[in-house]
């Protein structure tokens, strides 16, 4: 029932996320649903990994398992060498949702302060981190605005700043630009890439857009549904300082083609 997945050889770099034979089954009234089935995956420090696949393939579920928002029912997973729960309790990662999920009753700076308040940081430390991260996402000057006074793209940038303010080494992003229009999306993709280059964080990025995955990633994990499993893992060797123009190159198109083929093969057209 499962495809033989490509096992990532242990690289010289330290592995941040190590997943072995991971499975997750939801019990529903209509019987069990196999959201994830026998996943093996290793993500090294500094990588930008995209999880791509059709809806229902478990890419978001996998991200939520890494974040300890769901619990696996089989197999092992470690984040930073410890269990996802311990990693979460140590605030080891920043999570960016499909929507900005900013609290409408807080101004932008108070929204970014939210995780810092929960961590119990001093006011001074909070303020310096707010300023730094707002600058990182180019939102300086919007501190005192309320979220609903900003555009969708700006809101999502603020939510990225909020995730970064925790100062995690790992950034988990769940289709963060899915609801934005193409032009804003391109712009934010470019900014995200620069941010990644600047901060050298490990990023796990869920998307259903092939160009987005190819443009951003150093590694693409193609997933397929029913049951959710890893179909293919593709290394992209695009230069680190790439711009949007890279999308016109044959190398880009070749990787995109391979991703598309993987998606097609993994997709059962039974519905």
């Amino acid at each position: 029932m499962t495809e033989p997945s490509l096992k990532e050889p242990d690289s010289s770099e330290k592995s941040v996320i190590q997943i072995d034979d991971l499975s997750l089954t939801f019990e529903t009234n209509d019987g069990p649903v196999h959201a994830l089935s026998h996943i093996d995956l290793s993500i090294a420090e500094g990588e930008f990994v995209s999880l791509i696949g059709p809806s229902g393939c478990g890419k978001t579920t996998l991200l939520r398992v890494i974040a300890d928002l769901e619990r696996a029912t089989g197999g092992t997973i470690s984040v930073n060498g410890v269990s996802p729960e311990e990693a979460r309790l140590h605030r080891a990662y920043g999570y960016v949702f499909q929507a900005a999920a900013l609290y409408p009753w807080r101004t932008i700076d108070r929204n970014i302060a939210l995780p810092l308040e929960i961590m119990g940081l001093s006011k001074k430390e909070q303020n310096s981190r707010i300023a730094k991260n707002l600058d990182l996402v180019n939102l300086t000057g919007f501190e005192k605005k309320f979220p609903w006074q900003l555009s969708g793209g700006m809101q999502q940038r603020a939510s990225i700043a909020r995730a970064l303010a925790v100062e995690p080494h790992l950034l988990l992003m769940d289709e963060p630009f899915g609801a934005l229009d193409e032009i804003v999306r391109d712009h934010l993709n470019e900014q995200l890439l620069k941010l990644w280059a600047k901060t050298n964080k490990t990023v796990v990025f869920v998307t259903h857009s092939i160009p987005e995955a190819v443009f951003l990633s150093s590694k693409i994990v193609v997933m397929s549904p029913r049951p959710g499993r890893v179909h293919d893992v593709i290394d992209c060797g695009l230069p680190r300082d790439r711009t949007l123009d890279v999308r016109e190159t044959p190398q880009f198109l070749e990787i995109a083609h391979r991703v598309r083929e993987g998606l097609k093969a993994g997709h059962s057209y039974d519905d």
Partner: protein, 313 residues
């Protein structure tokens, strides 16, 4: 998928039953209701104990604890009658008396329910009419709507008895004045709910009818009215409950002749607490039935509309 589901039927059924019982509302509600009855008993014992102690002292009796508790729960005129006393009284006045008898609680409930329903129907009609006018006439919305909202903040219920007496002086007696109070109370929620409901169709649907060059009459019947029905039923639930309250309060000044409100009043005159509580429970039962009735109508209409929508699409 199906094979997976069938592979382990036993493992899914057992936790399913238990979790269904825990996640449903029946068991929790039962526990809460039993808890309320238990608290009621404890309160009855403690509140009636002072009087019982003085009774015992006068009779120079030294009852055991069990006997003492038993007698606190069965006093003639307790401060707080115990649930079984009220239940006995309810049973007696509901089932053991002729419906036409003035001792029958069913008779009194009927006396209160008649103006409740009449007032509710008149209030609903008035509310829908007002809402329709407000939605279609801009000047009415601007001038009337603020007053309708303000009037809800005025304790109208508190002057209901007086309105009854004024109407009585003009010669309007019997069912109508009480129904008028109920109508007055129930048209507010209907108006406010229906204005919202008639405005609820989104712009796209309204624009679609504009492209058909539909008249505002057609727009009303084909779009605004059907989409306002959920709002109508929600506000009807509020309206029928408040309509019953209006009818009960309206009975207070008429000299305590008949009706649940009159029972409350005469019970409080003669210190017959059991009578008050059984009238109260009867009123609560009526309210629950009325709201449930509207709920059933709501479900029925929704199902019919749902079928229509499916057949059309």
């Amino acid at each position: 998928m199906t094979t997976d589901a069938m592979a382990s039927p036993s493992s899914t059924v057992r936790p399913g039953l238990l979790s269904r019982a825990l996640s449903g509302t029946f068991l929790p509600v039962l526990v809460v209701v039993l808890g309320i009855i238990a608290i009621w008993y404890i309160a009855a014992i403690s509140m009636n104990s002072t009087f019982q102690r003085s009774l015992d002292a006068r009779a120079e009796a030294t009852p055991t604890t069990i006997e003492f508790i038993e007698s606190t729960l069965n006093q003639e005129r307790p401060v707080l009658p115990s649930p079984h006393q009220v239940a006995e009284n309810l049973w007696d006045t509901v089932f053991n008396k002729k419906i036409s008898s003035k001792r029958s609680l069913v008779y009194h409930a009927g006396v209160t329910l008649a103006p409740t329903l009449l007032g509710f129907l008149m209030g609903t009609a008035l509310g829908i009419l007002l809402a329709t006018i407000i939605v279609h006439v801009l000047s009415m919305e601007k001038s009337l709507m603020p007053w309708i909202i303000t009037s809800q903040t005025i304790p109208i219920l508190a002057i209901a008895p007086m309105v009854i007496l004024v109407l009585d002086a003009v010669g309007i007696r019997g069912l109508l004045p009480k129904a008028l109070i109920s109508m007055y109370l129930s048209f507010f929620p209907i108006t406010v709910g229906m204005v919202k409901g008639l405005r609820s169709p989104d712009k796209m649907h309204l624009d679609l009818l504009r492209t058909y060059n539909a008249s505002s009459w057609q727009t009303f019947w084909k779009l605004r009215w059907p989409s306002s029905l959920p709002y109508l039923f929600t506000s009807m639930k509020v309206a029928i409950a408040i309509s019953l309250i209006g009818a009960i309060i309206a009975e207070l000044p008429t000299g305590a002749v008949a009706g649940l409100g009159a029972r409350l009043l005469s019970g409080s005159y003669y210190g017959q607490t059991v009578l008050i509580w059984s009238a109260l429970l009867m009123a609560a039962f009526c309210a629950a039935m009325l709201v449930a009735l509207v709920g059933v109508a709501d479900k029925w209409v929704r199902r019919r509309m749902g079928e229509k929508v499916e057949a059309g699409s």
